[in-house]
């Protein structure tokens, strides 16, 4: 007996439980940006597990250590650049208030 209209969404008086796709993306991006320093700290703490020359042979040569640390550093910077670009794109696509205000705190 019900008309086809009855199956549609309820009236939009209540805010939806789920965010629309773009805000959802933006929030996850902010989460990722928050996680970045922890990723960096973990990566940069990793060399502490390497054997050093006090144990005799098997010490890591300094050039490899340098390479590793600068590679981590560069990767961090690169990810930060990408976040910056993504954040700007998402906020300009929104076309409203400055991005910092829209992001979740």
């Amino acid at each position: 007996m019900t008309s086809p209209d009855d199956d549609e969404q309820p009236t939009p008086t209540r805010p939806s439980v789920f965010l629309e796709r773009q805000s959802y993306r933006r929030r996850r991006l902010a989460d990722a940006a928050r996680l970045l320093p922890f990723l960096g700290a973990a990566m940069l703490a990793l060399p502490l597990l390497w054997p050093d020359d006090s144990g005799g042979a098997g010490a890591v040569p300094l050039s490899s250590a340098m390479f590793y640390i600068f590679a981590c550093w560069g990767a961090l910077i690169l990810i930060a650049v990408l976040f910056g670009i993504a954040a700007r794109r998402l906020s300009t696509r929104d076309g409203s208030a400055p991005e910092a205000d829209q992001w979740p705190r």
Partner: protein
């Protein structure tokens, strides 16, 4: 070989260039040009004052001594910048919304604008900053001495060069750091000059690095081999130092006064942080890229025992590349100058705002009445502070002799300034942090830092050697470098761990145990929830008379023109009438305080306004007022609710009235038709019988008499009806004259019953209790009888019982005669009960009878007589009650 004279010329030329750039930038900003001055690039480059001469020269020396450990002091800031989403964003927002001028101002602002805290932080910053400045002076002097060694003229004297360097730097800082007062008007000149210096030192270090890798080592591959083959060629890092230094540099990056100055105070736009989040780590990476190669090549090429701190200079010199050496010298020079200038600016702001101004304010009874310009006093205080700080640095350098002890002072300063961190982070993220907690944490951390690091590190035995060895009074667990008996920790790690740990514990404990003042709680909410609301706490109340005092005071701080503009804008905002003084509303006072705090700091501005307005800042009442906003809204909504309830009640009453009106109107219509009908029926028969009598001949006398009698009866009926209508209209208009008389109820009832029952079917049985009817009345007895007759004849007409019985009972109720007429019929239907006393009301229009005026007339009569008639529901049949004051009661009145 470059002579010393050439070098000095180059230095002077460089300084002149800096002056030029700073001056041009200030001019451009003043005329509103030069948007690039506020670009993220300039902001990022200005952050590079983190890289001082200590890092420019010292990083290579550090690398030559302990390999990759130097990189930690760059990794900490990198992590902080990359994680700007956590802390820096909030820090910048808070600082901007509170118009904070320095780190001391921020801390003091957060903890209820407490000046004690501001002074503590200032002392800490000065104690940590002075040796740091001395370190910069040392680096410049050392680099001079390298060139002087090779200079044949030999005119170089170390002491005087330090003096002149210090003087020059102080001059520069004074000229460009104290041009304007408002910290929120950025120091564009200085910032631009710093950005230029950032480029210079980066280019210099990169140039030396490239020269070393491709000019000396012969490419990347050979360089790597050379690194691995050198004495530092293996990964050998102390884990505790690595993590501690990374953490320490991250903490210092946020807490250092100069970093706070460029990163937070000079910040133009929060979105610059987003760019700096990757650009500044990139800058740091480039700065540290060639540090290890330079160190390795220096260790290879230079003779044993040469100072590795100066490899950046000595390596190019040893290869005969004088141009590169001079460039490198300029790089180190610019690192030192930018750091010294900004540190001096930041420290002088703190000293003048939190030490000099409060003292000056205390010496004044009424700041509004003091002659002279407060602005000049503040500026003078700042200039003197800069000079004093530079002098302190110079003396520190002279006293310490510029020895190796200075080399570690950078980290020592880091450890000292990091003691602010718990109070800062706690203040930003924890509303429960209190002033007492911050003070406790700061003093514990500060004391431990002095006891475990600063004093033992000083040459000259401020702490006796025995104390370091065995602890004070022989208490082993208090040994400065092995607290609680835990030995074998690196002194730096030892201090950082214990001081920050105990600092944090003291901070948290004291915060938990103490109770914050209203101001602290307000500010705490403002800081922690800065993204939710950026409104300052209200708290000032003033009178109009104070506006003038305020204006005089403000003029002395902001200068006449900006003050007048500010006050006029405020007056316009308040009442649309510029040209008058604005009312000192709380909102205005709060904006004014913000404006002033941009110049002299939050605590001082608060105190100054407090002195004029009356000192009452935030009371519990104000707090309650803030909190009451929600309560007021609740109250308002409940008022609305009450109003709406009242409205709906009125609406219901209106609806009822309307329904009654409609009913009355319908009754009127019904009555009109009834009256017409009643009038027409007798008229018809009168007309018909009179026509018969006129037109019919030969009527018998009998018939004539009968017809005439009918006509007469009908005419009587008409007269009765018209009498009733007339009677009612007379009663209603109040023109009735009462014929007052004395009698008893029994007599009246007797007459009424007998006259009502005569002529009727006489089937109605009336029951009375005559004994109770012996009541004396003083009233219009005929009118009262009319009412009784009406009621009895109504019962006779309408009582539908098989054997109708009317019970009449009389009582004396408190001086009122009450007579009830109750019959045993089915009564009046409930929906008609409210209408029975209305005119023209008739219950059931099918019943023959009167025109529905009887009860209406009764009601009017009873009102005239001072009594009333009412329908008694629930008596089994139709029941009416008549009440009337008794004779004695009336006489008593």
């Amino acid at each position: 070989m470059a002579t010393l004279n050439v070098l000095i010329l180059v230095c002077l030329g460089y300084v002149v260039l800096l002056f030029g750039v700073a001056f041009a930038a200030d001019r451009m900003a003043a005329v509103g040009k030069g948007k690039w001055l506020r670009s993220p690039l300039i902001y990022t480059l200005s952050l590079s004052i983190y890289c001082t001469a200590w890092t420019f020269y010292g990083a290579v020396g550090n690398a030559a001594r302990s390999g990759l450990e130097f990189v930690t002091i760059y990794l900490g800031p990198t992590l902080v910048m990359v994680g700007w989403w956590w802390g820096l964003r909030k820090l910048v927002r808070v600082a901007r919304s509170q118009r904070v001028t320095s780190i001391a101002d921020l801390i003091s602002s957060r903890y209820g604008k407490s000046n004690t805290l501001a002074v503590c932080v200032t002392i800490l910053a000065v104690l940590g900053g002075t040796p740091y400045i001395a370190l910069q002076l040392q680096s410049i002097t050392l680099s001079f001495s390298i060139f002087a060694e090779a200079d044949p003229t030999g005119l170089y004297r170390e002491g005087s060069s330090v003096f002149w360097v210090a003087t020059g730097l102080a001059l520069f800082a004074i000229l460009f750091g104290t041009r304007n007062l408002d910290a929120n008007e950025r120091h564009h000149g200085v910032v631009t000059a710093i950005a230029l210096e950032a480029v210079v030192k980066l280019v210099a270090l990169l140039a030396v690095g490239i020269f070393v890798v491709w000019g000396i080592a012969g490419g990347l591959g050979p360089m790597m081999d050379r690194i691995d083959a050198s004495e530092i060629g293996q990964w050998n890092v102390d884990a505790s130092r690595w993590t501690t230094f990374t953490f320490l540099s991250a903490a210092a990056f946020v807490c250092l006064p100069r970093m706070f100055q460029v990163m937070v105070v000079e910040n133009d736009d929060e979105s610059h942080l987003r760019t700096a989040a990757w650009a500044f780590p990139l800058y740091l990476l480039l700065m540290s890229l060639f540090v290890v190669p330079i160190a390795v090549v220096g260790l290879d090429l230079l003779p044993e025992g040469s100072n590795p701190d100066l490899f950046v200079l000595t390596v190019p010199l040893s290869q005969g590349n004088d141009g590169l050496a001079v460039l490198s010298f300029i790089g180190g020079f610019s690192s030192a100058t930018s750091m010294v200038i900004v540190t001096a600016m930041a420290l002088s702001t703190m000293v003048s705002n939190h030490v000099v101004m409060p003292i000056w304010l205390n010496t004044q009874d009424r700041p509004g009445a003091v002659p002279g310009d407060v602005r000049t006093i503040v500026l003078l205080a700042r200039r003197v502070s800069i000079a004093a700080i530079m002098a302190l640095g110079y003396f520190y350098y002279s006293l310490s002799g510029g020895g190796a002890a200075l080399a570690s002072i950078g980290l020592v300063a880091f450890a000292g300034i990091s003691q602010i961190l718990p109070a800062l982070v706690g203040g930003l993220f924890w509303r429960g942090a209190t002033r007492t907690g911050a003070l406790a944490g700061l003093s514990v951390g500060f004391g431990l830092w002095i006891y475990t690091l600063l004093l033992p590190g000083m040459d000259g035995g401020i702490i006796p050697h025995s104390v370091i060895e065995h602890g004070p009074f022989g208490w082993g667990w208090l040994r400065p470098q092995a607290l609680f008996g835990i030995e074998g920790i690196d002194p730096m790690v030892h201090t950082v761990m214990w001081s920050l740990l105990l600092n944090t514990i003291a901070f948290c404990l004291a915060s938990l145990l103490s109770f914050p003042s209203p101001m602290e709680r307000l500010q705490g909410a403002q800081f922690v929830n800065v993204f939710d609301h950026s409104v300052a706490p209200r708290g000032w109340t003033g009178s109009v008379a104070q506006s003038e005092d305020l204006m005089i005071m403000t003029q002395r701080i902001l200068g006449p023109t900006p003050t007048q503009e500010f006050f006029q804008a405020e007056a316009e905002r308040q009442n649309g009438r510029p040209g008058r003084l604005p009312e000192p509303t709380p909102g205005f006072l709060q904006r004014l305080e913000r404006e002033l705090s941009g110049s002299v700091g939050a605590a001082t501005a608060h105190a100054m306004i407090g002195q004029i307005v009356g000192g009452a800042s935030v009371s519990v009442e104000d707090l309650l007022a803030v909190a009451d906003e929600s309560a007021q809204m609740l109250e308002y909504s409940s008022q609305l609710e009450a109003k709406s309830a009242e409205l709906s009640r009125t609406a219901r009453q209106l609806r009822e009235a309307n329904a009654k009106l409609t009913q009355v109107s319908m009754q009127k219509d019904a009555f009109l038709s009834q009256v017409s009908h009643e009038l027409r029926t007798p008229m018809t028969s009168i007309r018909a019988f009179s026509e018969i009598m006129r037109d019919t001949d030969g009527l018998s006398a009998d018939e004539q008499t009968r017809y005439a009698a009918i006509i007469h009866d009908e005419a009587l009926r008409l007269t009765r009806l018209l009498d009733d209508l007339l009677d009612l209209s007379v009663l209603e208009s109040g023109q009735v004259s009462l014929n007052m008389g004395d009698g008893t109820l029994r007599a009246v009832l007797d007459r009424a019953v007998s006259s009502a029952l005569t002529g009727g079917g006489a089937t109605l049985q009336v029951r009375r209790t005559r004994a109770s009817e012996r009541m004396a009345l003083h009233t219009d007895l005929d009118r009262l009888g009319q009412v009784f007759i009406n009621l009895i004849s109504n019962a006779q007409k309408y009582c539908d019982a098989a054997e109708p019985v009317l019970t009449i009972s009389a009582h004396d109720v408190g001086g009122q005669m009450v007579v009830d007429f109750v019959d045993n019929g089915s009564g009046i239907p409930p929906d008609a009960q409210s209408m029975v006393f209305e005119k023209f009301a008739r219950v059931g229009s099918d019943k023959a009878g009167g025109a529905g005026l009887g009860l209406a007339i009764c009601r009017e009569i009873m009102q005239r007589l001072g009594g009333e008639i009412a329908y008694l529901p629930g008596q089994g049949g139709a029941a009416f009650r008549i009440s009337l004051p008794l004779a004695y009661q009336q006489a008593a009145q």
